[in-house]
Symmetry: C2
DNA sequence: ACCTGAACACCGTTCAAGT
DNA sequence: ACCTGAACACCGTTCAAGT
């Protein structure tokens, strides 16, 4: 009736499973122990404490993300494709993003895309500090955007929202300089995909222009 | 010896005080009750539960942020100034940012700057959907950046960091196409202020170019 | 209308004790 | 080396009872 000896790896796998199925909040030491069929205190022997369990979990998941391959003919298209790929990877692991952010490890989410970005920016003719600035600008934009986007999805209804604010403006007849199409666009729900595309494309365009 | 009757407002003020002095984690119902000199359960009568206490707290703090006034001569300078002002406001309330984000109310952080942005973008000649896209792009960039930035500050030492990754590259002698200045720049610690300026300026430049 | 203490169902963590 | 149960110091929340 006795289970085979517990391993650190087994603990991590069970933890990952728990997070994937029931969200990060479900990952309590006691529930994890129950899933594993051991005493809570056994887990402590293998992973130290909750903090380092989460650290290890984040590390493992990030390592599994996989490489990013740029696509496209122009430098602009290739850099944008890296940004899109990074966003897609992160959005495929929403719980990971939340966990990494909660633990203050946001920088960790940068690394998978960094090599690819460096190569592309260099190929586009940027050098030295200017190239580094461009890489960082894209990284911050993508990760920041994913954080904002994920967060908006978590609580879709916001109380005094843009809709209420601009909806009435869109109805009003025009004071000089007013723009009903604008008001209507702001009253409509945000399309994050669209915002992302607009932002990345615009940002990259300016950044690469500095290289020519 | 009996204290005057508790009010909802008093609860919120004490909660804000607690968060400001000891961080969001210190805001427990029990500790709050202790600070107020009442029973824990009294708080529930006034604010419902912890959820709605946090909601009310966020709402109140956001309302106190104050208006944003654009500065500068050119449209570009004025939009950038709004972005900087929003960032400064948010960074002045780090706990607020954390709380708003945790509660999935990121959109809430947009609103203070939105009117100002709309006005400036319109003045720059953008109209309708295109203007709305520009406003949103700037908003997402600023809020996303602040989230990333705050988060990096929370845990300054990251284990397999950029430094380790690029530091050795900077030492190596050059494979074809390698760029030691770039490697050195990436090995150095990030200057978020610089990244922010670069990003906003580049983004706004492209966005406004579409209006002429 | 407002406050209270007791109680419930949870947490993470420590520790002495087992094999 | 690995596992265990008991215990500690916390949580948020409910509820019946007080004034």
């Amino acid at each position: 009736m006795s289970r085979p000896p517990l391993t650190r790896d087994e603990v991590l796998t069970a933890a990952a499973h728990l997070v994937k199925r029931h969200g990060p909040d479900a990952l309590t030491m006691r529930r994890l122990a129950a899933d594993l069929g051991t005493a809570v205190t056994s887990i402590y022997w293998h992973v130290g404490n909750r903090e380092s369990l989460l650290d290890a979990l984040v590390e493992r998941t990030v390592a599994d993300l996989g490489e990013i391959r740029p696509r496209g003919a122009t430098p602009h298209a290739r850099v944008v494709s890296v940004a899109r790929a990074l966003r897609r990877q992160l959005r495929a692991h929403p719980h990971l993003v939340a966990m990494v952010h909660e633990r203050g490890l946001t920088e960790r989410m940068f690394l998978p895309a960094q090599q690819a970005l460096v190569r592309e920016v260099h190929a586009a003719g940027l050098r030295g500090v200017r190239a580094a600035d461009a890489v960082r600008a894209v990284q911050f934009l993508v990760v920041g955007h994913v954080l904002v986007e994920r967060n908006r999805e978590r609580s879709p209804v916001q109380r005094p929202g843009e809709g209420d604010l601009w909806g009435e403006q869109a109805e009003k007849d025009t004071a000089p300089g007013s723009d009903r199409a604008l008001a209507r666009a702001l009253a409509a729900p945000v399309d994050p995909e669209r915002v992302f595309t607009t932002s990345v494309s615009a940002l990259v365009k300016s950044l690469l222009a500095a290289g020519t």
